[in-house]
């Protein structure tokens, strides 16, 4: 799995970076001022991997952090790891070549990993559908509950009425229930009494019938009623748990607030033990809530089946089958946790974290004694040398010493491939290790083997700790990275905060070489202020980090990718502008090719892009000047060195003026020399005019705005970052994201015109 993009939310100064793509060639550089949030970005990526955070990363509004990473996966990756769920899920999973993982934190600062992207959408859609169905069932249950209530109230009312009528019947005179004063009643009176009794009996029977109906309703629904009672109990428990969770969350939030604002555990009014208890209660409540939620869903489902008229046993069977089906489906968390096992390990490189010790006992290395000083570096060293302890079991000390000597030479040569600095004028440092044994003066250790390390140059043989800070840093860095690139079974994303601050400019460039060397195995994301740690030909690697409001250090962090670098503040871009000011520094003149001097670095990018797009293989080599005023000087230098060169100029005031000067000052000796000054036709005011307006918009600006002036005028009037735009264009061409067939016929024709012009220098 390879990291492709990240998004950080609510982490220190970062509110939301949005999804940020990292460089496809595995080296990503974060530039920006101090306090812009660069280190926070590295740390947030580290905690994506570890999941461990403390209160100090929380923002003042206490929103909880979330880090999202998108990874590229190989074809069939998900097929291999996921069980078959159903056709649509399996098809979706099989079609994906990217997965998104989201780590989010809860109020107790514990985290969970969930799947994101299309798989999450799929699962959420299913959940929504399920919730909708459950919601509808719940509504039916509640409707039934209302009906049940009505029936129960009706039953009570009926019982009371029945009782009342029954009493009346019992005491009715017609039944002789009362004192009969007269021996004989008159027939009219008797008839009347009989009638009343009959009415009472009728009413009684009618009520009795209604009551029996209700009883029958209740009896026939006794299973459902029982199920609903259990369902209601679960809902009550869920409500109670949620209330409790809210209360604990509130307490945790208060604590975070106190810890964030005042910092330090001393202000804590609860002892550590009590806090542990609160955290534990939170954790229990969260689990209980989830448990009750699932229980409630199952009970809802069961009630639903019964409501539909399914008998008890079949309902249980249906429930079991739904449960089994559900069991087969992934939750976002389950999928997140499963796939995170394969996700790269994110490691922050710690300065001097693996500094070579002067000496370490072989016994400590074999016993994996990590607490011993220098253990990590010694282990790294042996990893790079591809040695394990069996190497030292060689019985012949002569052979062993010879092997060690050979290894030292090899390691030194490998190291010198990266560290190209000299000590003095000619001496390069060499790294050495030796195997020796303690003498009898070392008590218990006497006779035991140890390794001793040296960093030597021709003049001196010094222990690592005796070397300069820069050498120590680079050595530590070299050991760590090289060992990691050999060691890691899992893909590694290495996060490096300001590498090589104590290094000389040239040595900083050596750091870049190490990154280049390991990039196949390790993705590197590093922060820097140094222009020497930014490859000007690879601006697509740069992400500019700055505050939303550059004047306000309390504002949130924003990230601008290469396409938006033009929006970054001048201070943020200072490392880049330092390089832009000195582009020739990295460009060597070519002795076997025609050196074509162009006005500036933007034109240089465009010319190189044009050559790649046209597939031109002529022996020409472009050299950027810093501006048109420097062109005569460059010509004089090249002339002095006897190199073949020409000047390619565009039809703008500065370059036309340069052409005039060149004719007047430089190319005066030999007639015909001035043929080496080529001025492009009038319609090409600058290099970007080689593209049609449409291609310029689509391929460089990536905008659809109507442009009614030439491309170069548009760049100039709108103060666009020309160098950045053209560098990105060159990078797109190199990455084949822009190809010749993407150009319209106008651009193609213009580029062929350029090629025809350059033909004469072949």
């Amino acid at each position: 799995m390879k990291l492709k993009a990240f998004r950080i939310e609510n982490f220190r100064s970062v509110a939301d970076t949005g999804m940020q793509n990292i460089s496809p060639d595995n080296i990503t550089c974060l530039i920006g001022q101090n306090e812009s949030g660069k280190t926070s970005i590295l740390e947030s990526l580290k905690v994506f991997s570890s999941g461990i955070i403390s209160e100090d990363v929380l923002r003042s509004d206490l929103s909880l952090p979330r880090v999202t990473c998108r990874f590229e996966v190989a074809e069939g990756f998900l097929d291999d790891r996921l069980r078959n769920v159903n056709d649509s899920f399996d098809k979706l999973a099989g079609s994906l070549n990217e997965i998104t993982l989201v780590r989010s934190w809860k109020a107790d600062l514990k985290s969970q990993m969930e799947i994101g992207g299309e798989l999450r959408d799929y699962i959420n859609d299913l959940d929504s559908k399920r919730k909708k169905d459950l919601g509808e069932t719940e509504k039916k249950i509640r409707d039934f509950c209302s009906l049940l209530n009505e029936k129960r109230i009706g039953k009570e009312t009926l019982s009371a009425s029945l009782k009342e009528i029954s009493t009346k019947i019992d005491s009715h005179p017609a039944r002789g229930g009362t004192l009969n004063i007269f021996k004989k009643k008159g027939s009219v009176v008797k008839d009347k009494e009989d009638n009343t009794l009959e009415e009472l009996k009728k009413a009684y029977n009618s009520l009795k019938e209604q009551s029996e109906k209700i009883n029958s309703f209740l009896n026939s629904n006794d299973v459902l009623i029982g199920a609903i009672e259990e369902w209601s109990e679960t809902i009550d428990m869920l409500d109670q748990t949620e209330t409790k969770l809210e209360e604990i969350s509130g307490r945790l939030e208060e604590r975070h607030q106190t810890m964030t604002l005042l910092s330090g555990p001393s202000i804590d009014d609860l002892s550590r033990g009590e806090w542990e208890k609160v955290l534990n209660e939170f954790s229990v409540a969260v689990s209980r809530k989830e448990e009750l939620g699932s229980e409630k869903d199952l009970k809802t489902l069961y009630c639903g089946y019964i409501l539909e008229g399914v008998d008890e046993e079949s309902a249980r069977q249906k429930l079991d089958s739904a449960g089994e089906k559900r069991q087969l489906e992934y939750t976002t968390r389950e999928l997140g946790e499963l796939l995170s096992k394969d996700c790269p390990h994110f490691e922050i490189f710690e300065d001097f974290g693996s500094l070579l010790p002067n000496r370490i006992d072989l016994e400590d290395i074999i016993a994996d004694n990590r607490s011993v000083e220098g253990y990590k570096a010694a282990r790294n060293f042996l990893t790079i040398a591809e040695l394990d302890y069996t190497f030292f079991q060689q019985p012949s000390s002569r052979i062993l010493k010879q092997k060690i000597e050979n290894l030292n030479s090899k390691l030194t040569l490998d190291f010198q491939d990266f560290w190209q600095q000299y000590v003095g004028k000619h001496n390069k440092i060499r790294i050495n290790f030796e195997l020796d044994h303690y003498s009898t003066t070392h008590g218990d250790k006497a006779g035991k083997p140890y390794l001793e390390f040296w960093v030597k140059d021709e003049g001196e043989r010094l222990y690592p700790k005796q070397r300069s800070r820069g050498v120590r840093w680079f050595l530590s860095f070299y050991l760590e990275l090289m060992a990691a690139s050999k060691n890691e079974k899992k893909h590694l994303v290495l996060l490096v905060d300001e590498p090589g601050v104590s290094l000389h400019a040239r040595a900083q460039e050596d750091v870049l070489k190490v990154f280049e060397d390991i990039k196949e195995n390790i993705q590197v994301i590093y922060t820097t202020h140094s222009p020497h740690l930014v490859d000007i030909n690879k601006l697509h690697r740069v992400l500019a980090v700055q505050r939303d409001d550059v004047e306000n250090h309390r504002s949130t962090t924003v990230i601008l990718d290469a396409a938006r670098l033009g929006d970054a503040s001048p201070d943020t871009l200072s490392p880049l502008q330092s390089i832009m000011g000195n582009p020739v520094g990295n460009q060597e003149f070519s002795v076997d090719k025609y050196n074509i001097i162009v006005n500036n670095v933007g034109t240089f990018y465009m010319m190189n892009a044009a050559m790649k797009l046209t597939g031109y293989k002529g022996k020409i080599h472009f050299i950027p000047s810093t501006d048109s005023s420097s062109i005569p000087l460059m010509c004089n230098i090249l002339m002095g060195w006897g190199m073949k060169f020409a000047v390619l100029l565009f039809y703008n005031d500065d370059e036309l003026e340069a052409a005039r000067k060149l004719r007047d000052i430089v190319f005066t000796d030999k007639p015909g020399d001035e043929e080496n000054i080529v001025v492009m036709p009038e319609e090409f005011k600058n290099a970007e005019d080689l593209l049609s307006t449409l291609d310029f918009k689509n391929l460089i600006l990536k905008s659809r705005e109507g442009i009614t002036i030439s491309n170069s005028e548009y760049v100039s009037i709108n103060d666009l970052p020309r160098n950045f735009l053209l560098s990105k264009f060159l990078s797109d061409v190199k990455l084949k994201e822009v190809r010749r067939e993407d150009l319209d016929e106008e651009s193609k024709e213009n580029l062929m015109l350029l090629v025809n012009i350059l033909q004469k220098f072949n």
């Binding site: 009038e682 319609e683 049609s692 307006t693 449409l694 918009k697 689509n698 905008s703 659809r704 705005e705 109507g706 442009i707 009614t708 319209d744 016929e745 106008e746």
Partner: protein
């Protein structure tokens, strides 16, 4: 009292209407003045006719001709809508064509349309956003290169019909307007057509084919329009114009005209 007041308002309304109509009549004259007159067209084309019938006083349809450095550029445009908004857009279209052709430019039909689209998008501030106005111009544009006996054609939703040796051929346009495209703007296609003396070409707005007939209550349709061209293409241009006009009037009958109408024919 009330009656007097009613009369007074009626007088005011009539006066306002008269003023509006007078303005529109004047605007119509200006619009016509921006389009090439017959004598200019006769000078640059062997023969031609224009059947131009706005729905209202002013029209969203326009025709255009320009000659420079041996190239002859002829176009027939149809702006979205009709009446005043269409007319204003047509004036923009004419101005943009003038601007494009008056500066040094490689005379390629598609590049002219590409540039014109930039100008329309720029003027209407179109950036491909959902909420913005989608006004645009459909146009057929030809660049005649007499020294090469070639006609270049590029079309934005409007075709070019060619009749050579009695055979009718329709060159299909690109299905996008001069204005913001639904998805993304791509270059218009440049068609190069070898031509010979006597070939006849027709460009037209959709007003004629889309006109509902009085009797049928159906559109005239492009198929019938092609048949009509084929039928008249051998006639003199004057006779063709008269026939187009008469056919349109007859077809329309007393039903109202649905859109501006423009049919332009020329012979090289």
């Amino acid at each position: 009292m009330n009656k007097d007041r009613g009369d007074f308002e009626s007088v005011l309304f009539t006066q306002a209407m008269d003023e509006h109509l007078s303005s529109l009549r004047y605007a119509s004259m200006i619009q016509r003045a921006l389009m090439p007159d017959t004598s200019f067209l006769s000078g640059i084309l062997k023969d031609h006719f224009i059947f131009y019938s706005p729905k209202d006083y002013v029209s969203g349809d326009f025709y255009y001709a320009y000659q420079n450095a041996g190239y002859t550029i002829i176009a027939a445009g149809d702006c979205t809508g009709h009446g005043v908004p269409g007319a204003l857009l047509s004036i923009l279209g004419i101005s943009f064509l003038n601007e494009i052709l008056q500066v040094r430019v490689v005379p390629r039909a598609n590049r002219i349309l590409n540039r014109m689209r930039e100008k329309v998008m720029g003027a209407l501030d179109q950036r491909g956003q959902e909420y913005e106005q989608k006004d645009s111009i459909d146009i057929a544009l030809c660049v005649y290169e007499p020294f090469r006996s070639v006609i270049q054609y590029a079309g934005a939703n409007r075709p070019l019909v060619m009749v050579s040796d009695g055979a009718l051929k329709e060159i299909k346009p690109d299905k996008m307007p001069i204005g913001v495209a639904p998805l993304e703007e791509v270059s218009f296609t440049n068609h190069r057509i070898d031509v010979k003396e006597g070939d006849r070409f027709y460009m037209f707005s959709d007003g004629f084919p889309d006109q509902f007939g009085e009797e049928t209550n159906k559109k005239f349709k492009i198929k019938n329009f092609r048949k009509l061209i084929s039928y008249v293409s051998g006639w003199s241009m004057d006779k063709q114009k008269a026939h187009f006009e008469n056919t349109f009037i007859e077809w329309k009958g007393s039903s109202s005209q649905v859109d501006d109408v423009l049919v332009m024919g020329f012979e090289i």
